[in-house]
């Protein structure tokens, strides 16, 4: 008996692979339990959700400290011959995992506030909502820890499927239509990725993230580079759907019918970042920088594609009159900053791309939180209704302004740091037109965010009846701390990551740590 316990403690429990598994299981388990807790036991459900989120974050912190001690975390199961299911915690994985789990924790708090009973609205199916919400984040973490393209693909599809019920949560005709569009686009993206994965396995005999060592070996023996080029574009198109590269973006704005917590976490962080993360993995780990930039010369077209998406997304955002839609198109534009940074394949641009993964997440989630607060508490959906709202909900609107300024790229908010690295890196990598894309995007960002700030702070409040009639009730609801405190936390974080950009715990330092692996090894 004692031997068994000792065996368990030594080999399975508290071993490195145990921590890795626990990070994934913690949310999967709570998620599946939540499915069976009805609204009667709301408090139990809340506790369980928060418990799962906290536990996950705790285990991630343990793994990070382990990585600082240079320990390895890896699970390798052979499902069939040559078909490996690999989970591995490398530094790049941790960047995405920590970002999504930390923001998941915050968003869980926000979602609890958003679906509070006193609001007396369409609050059915909450157990379904929180269940799928947990499964979503499980697949996000799975994506970040995936050790080969096959594992990546599995979790990528899981993410698509578990997000669908969240998008269609309200059950209205519009939501179901949006869900259909979402499913059609992302599933076909997944299919293309599947084809690409098989293609890769056929060409190189495996789907490992080996920084293109195997591929370099094969490429050196053949003259024919065309299959590899085709492979690259097939893979990029597969993940490009979730990254919302330009012709594949329409699902993102339509999916804005989802409740605010979903838009905040999934459409600012988890789903779209899964796509961007996929592009990073494909360029760095499947192909390797050397093959990508020098042997196959794939850099220039991808940079162009990302630039077009940046400008197109901003122009579209300018035309929106709905707040959430404007934010959605802004996401389309900002996501391509990540693609742009990685695609230019210089060390500094890559730092810019990687930190924007974190910075954009923090700033955009703040904006979506605030949009949700506006929607829920002041019944504001359209931009023209924003007039003078800063007087009524000052804290939320300060957070919104911080997020907006960050998006434009005004220091000290975090967005500035990533823009600085992207631009100076672009000059170094001799893509000088990219700085004009960045400047153009900044100007367009200013054009679609500053009028909002102007309305919020400088225009007088419209004397609409809704404020006067239920003023007392409003006063009570406007002080719902579950709703506005997450926005304050993320706004503070995006300020702090900007101000203390070169601190050793900052995303910037971590990105530099990651990239030494790919560039200076």
């Amino acid at each position: 008996m004692i031997q068994l316990i000792e065996y368990l403690t030594n080999s399975v429990l508290f071993s490195n692979s145990f921590y890795l598994l626990m990070v994934i299981i913690s949310s999967a388990l709570t998620g599946s339990v939540v499915f069976f807790i009805s609204d009667k036991y709301e408090k139990t459900r809340i506790t369980l959700n928060l418990f799962g989120a906290l536990i996950k974050f705790l285990f991630l912190v343990i793994i990070v400290t382990g990585l600082y001690r240079l320990e390895t975390y890896e699970i390798d199961w052979e499902l069939a011959k040559g078909l490996h299911f690999i989970l591995r915690a490398d530094s790049l994985a941790m960047l995405f995992a920590i970002l999504s789990s930390a923001l998941w924790l915050v968003t869980t708090v926000y979602a609890i506030g958003y679906f509070k009973k006193e609001n007396g609205e369409n609050n059915q199916h909450l157990q379904r909502f929180f269940g799928f919400f947990s499964l979503c984040i499980t697949s996000s973490i799975g994506i970040s820890f995936a050790g080969n393209l096959f594992t990546f693909l599995i979790f990528y599809e899981c993410l698509t499927l578990s997000t669908y019920p969240l998008v269609t949560h309200s059950g209205t005709q519009k939501a179901i239509q949006a869900g259909r569009k979402y499913l059609a686009l992302t599933l076909s993206g997944g299919l293309v990725l599947l084809i690409g994965t098989i293609f890769l396995a056929v060409l190189t005999g495996g789907t490992y993230f080996d920084q293109g060592k195997n591929m370099a070996h094969i490429l050196s023996s053949t003259e024919n580079q065309l299959p590899f080029k085709i492979l690259f574009w097939v893979l990029i198109c597969g993940v490009g759907v979730k990254t919302a590269l330009v012709p594949f973006h329409p699902w993102l704005p339509t999916a804005m019918v989802a409740p605010a917590p979903v838009s905040a976490l999934l459409h600012a962080v988890a789903v779209v970042k899964a796509g961007a993360f996929g592009i990073i993995r494909i360029i760095y780990d499947v192909f390797g920088v050397e093959i990508y930039a020098k042997t196959l010369n794939l850099s220039a077209p991808l940079v162009l594609w990302a630039s077009i998406t940046i400008i197109y997304g901003s122009l579209k955002a300018l035309q929106q009159t709905n707040i959430k839609k404007r934010l959605a198109y802004s996401t389309v534009s900002q996501l391509s900053y990540i693609t742009l940074g990685v695609a230019m394949a210089g060390p500094i641009t890559s730092i810019g791309g990687l930190i924007h993964l974190v910075h954009q997440g923090l700033m955009k989630i703040t904006l979506f939180f605030c949009a949700g607060v506006l929607q829920k508490e002041a019944k504001i959906n359209e931009i023209k209704e924003l007039n003078g709202i800063g007087k009524i909900m000052p804290w939320t609107m300060i957070c919104f302004t911080i997020g907006a300024l960050g998006m434009i790229g005004i220091p000290p908010v975090a967005g500035f740091v990533s823009k600085w690295f992207l631009a100076t890196g672009a000059l170094e990598a001799e893509y000088s037109y990219v700085i004009w894309v960045l400047i153009g995007s900044s100007i367009l960002n200013a054009m679609y965010f500053l009028p909002l700030c102007y309305r919020i702070w400088f225009l007088p409040l419209k004397s609409s009846k809704t404020y006067e009639s239920n003023n007392r009730q409003k006063h009570k609801i406007l002080n719902n701390p579950w709703l506005y405190s997450p926005a304050i936390i993320t706004a503070l974080l995006s300020l702090l990551t900007g101000i203390f950009a070169s601190h050793e715990m900052s995303p910037l330092s971590w990105s530099i740590f990651i990239l030494t692996e790919f560039y200076f090894l």
């Binding site: 009159t321 170094e428 500053l450 009028p451 070169s502």
Partner: protein, 561 residues
């Protein structure tokens, strides 16, 4: 150069506190300090958004201080952006049509400026591979594309001529004290940024230098001539600012002519900046006072108002550059700089033509400033009568008056103060010699008086000739109104949101409130009887003053040991 580094903040914050920074810091803090003191006095009739105004002023002040102190590219850019964006709140403060139009043009120009400055900074960072401004300066061997972008970016701030549009719109639209600091210290941030990033004295580029000199003098003359057609004294002052900044650009051009000792150049330009900042702010405050004080049909010709008139006249003369004023001293330094360049020059590239051009600007400036004084005389001084002594004594107690006094004495004292500070800190024998070196009073008297007299005659006669022509109906902010409609059209076509509607909304609510015709005299009496500030405002101001004083003392304590 002494500097302190904070490696964890941004990408390594660097704060410089050499003698130049301290001089600029003292001057800037003094301007903001007086501005904070006198704001409640000027804004007592318009308390609607006064708390917001203080927040924006404070943020802008922090940015302004940081522009002077921060010495690495990223944090410098942060400071510049903070100052610019916070100033938006100062310009829009009144919320009337002029203020909204001005702020729209302003924010457009700010964003344009940032997006010209930023590529410049990126290029410099890429070229010299360092973030420290000190290192960028010392590594600069010749001018490059990045410098051109930086020049354009700061050009918007300092009102370089095609980019000056926001300036004549923003100054009259913003509250008195805000236009004082806008003109006094915020537009100077453009010059400070330029001399921080580009080592003008070490570089030599005769072609660019000639272009800059002609550009600067041209700007000075054109702005003055346009300013003459204006009717609001504050707009005239704004054009005078554009004109004086033209002289500063000309000075930068002169420094580019040859490789000259840097101390001479720095002293000249610092003195010019500080002289103009203090004098111009004093004039803006004076206009504010006169507007409050000389209300049609009432008020007085007693001793205090004569003092105010006299001081305004003094500031006007100083701006023209009369001997024995700070302006005269500033012009002397420019001429001395020219002499130093000429002494070592070969014959063919003599700079005597620059001297002639500067004399020409003295003529246009005096034309403009006399026009300004004439406007004040016609609109305010001429149409006033005596009022009772009781009111007068109450008025004298008001703190706004003392603040004006403080400011004007400062503006007269600038010369000696700066002189002592510079000579004490620099300890450079050459520099002190440069400062004292023969100021030829007789020569400069002749140099200024003749253009001044011509300007006087012109200011009296020319308006009579052109009075009824279109020249006197030119809009303020020349192209500003055009740009304003352009921005609005752009907004509407792109974003499908009609901002015009919202604006009309504001105006309609405002006009509804103003239905009753206001009895100005009653209002005036009421304003005087009212206690000057509410307790809350008083407290806020005290806190702000304490903070700014604390920063100042910290800065000084850094230097003394």
């Amino acid at each position: 150069m002494s500097s302190t580094q904070f490696p964890n903040i941004f990408l390594g914050l660097e704060i410089a506190h050499g003698s130049i920074e301290i001089i600029l810091l003292l001057f800037t803090l003094a301007l903001w300090f007086i501005s904070f003191i006198s704001t409640p006095f000027f804004e007592k009739n318009n308390r609607k958004h006064s708390n917001e105004l203080y927040v924006f002023m404070f943020m802008s002040m922090l940015g302004n201080i940081a522009v002077i102190l921060f010495d690495d590219l990223i944090s410098f850019y942060f400071a510049f952006a903070l100052m610019n964006f916070a100033a938006y709140g100062m310009i829009i403060h009144k919320r009337d049509k002029a203020a909204i139009d001005a702020s729209r043009v302003y924010i457009f120009m700010v964003i344009l400026g940032e997006s010209l400055l930023l590529p410049g900074l990126w290029m410099l960072h890429n070229q010299y591979e360092t973030l420290s401004i000190q290192e960028v300066r010392s590594l600069t061997q010749s001018l490059s594309l990045g410098h051109a972008f930086i020049f354009a970016g700061f050009g918007i701030k300092l009102g370089l001529i095609p980019l000056h549009i926001w300036l004549p719109l923003a100054h009259p639209a913003s509250p008195t004290t805000c236009s004082a600091v806008l003109s006094g210290s915020i537009i100077k941030a453009g010059i400070i940024g330029l001399i921080k990033l580009i080592p003008f004295a070490y570089l030599s580029g005769p072609t660019i230098s000639t272009i800059l000199i002609i550009w600067g003098v041209g700007q000075s003359i054109m702005a003055s001539l346009y300013g003459i057609t204006q009717k609001d004294p504050k707009t005239v002052l704004a054009y005078s600012s554009v004109s004086q900044m033209g002289l500063a650009v000309c000075l930068l051009g002169i420094a580019l002519q040859k490789n000259i000792p840097e101390t001479f150049f720095i002293i000249t330009i610092l003195f010019f900046i500080i002289h103009h900042g203090v004098t111009k702010s004093a004039l803006f405050l004076a206009v504010g006072h006169i507007k409050l004080r000389f209300i049609k049909g009432k008020v007085n010709q007693s001793a205090t108002s004569i003092i105010i008139i006299a001081m305004t006249l003094l500031c006007v003369l100083s701006l023209i550059g009369m001997p024995f004023t700070s302006g005269g001293l500033a012009k002397n330094y420019i001429k001395q700089l020219l002499l130093i360049i000429d002494e070592t020059n070969t014959i063919e590239s003599s700079l005597s033509w620059v001297k002639t051009l500067i004399t020409l600007t003295t003529f246009t400036t005096s034309f403009l400033m006399i026009h300004f004084f004439k406007l004040l005389y016609k609109n305010y001084f001429q149409k006033t009568h005596l009022i009772s002594d009781k009111l007068e004594t109450k008025y004298q107690q008001s703190k706004g008056y003392t603040s004006l006094l403080l400011w004007v004495t400062m503006s007269i004292m600038t010369g000696p103060i700066i002189y002592t500070i510079v000579s004490a800190i620099s300890k450079n024998h050459n520099a002190t010699q440069f400062l004292i070196a023969d100021i030829k009073v007789k020569q400069s008297l002749i140099d200024t008086f003749i253009p001044f007299l011509i300007g006087l005659i012109a200011a009296v006669w020319i308006p009579r000739i052109f009075k009824k022509t279109i020249l006197y109906k030119l809009p303020e902010g020349d192209l500003g109104s055009l740009l304003n409609t352009l921005i609005q059209k752009m907004n509407q076509t792109f974003s499908k949101l009609n901002t015009e509607q919202d604006n009309e909304n504001i105006f309609s609510t405002k006009t509804q409130k103003k239905q009753r015709p206001i009895n100005k005299n009653k209002e005036f009496l009421k304003g005087l009887n009212e206690s000057l500030y509410s307790k809350r405002e008083n407290f806020g101001i005290l806190v702000l003053i304490f903070i700014s004083l604390a920063i100042g003392f910290l800065a000084i304590s850094e230097v003394i040991p």
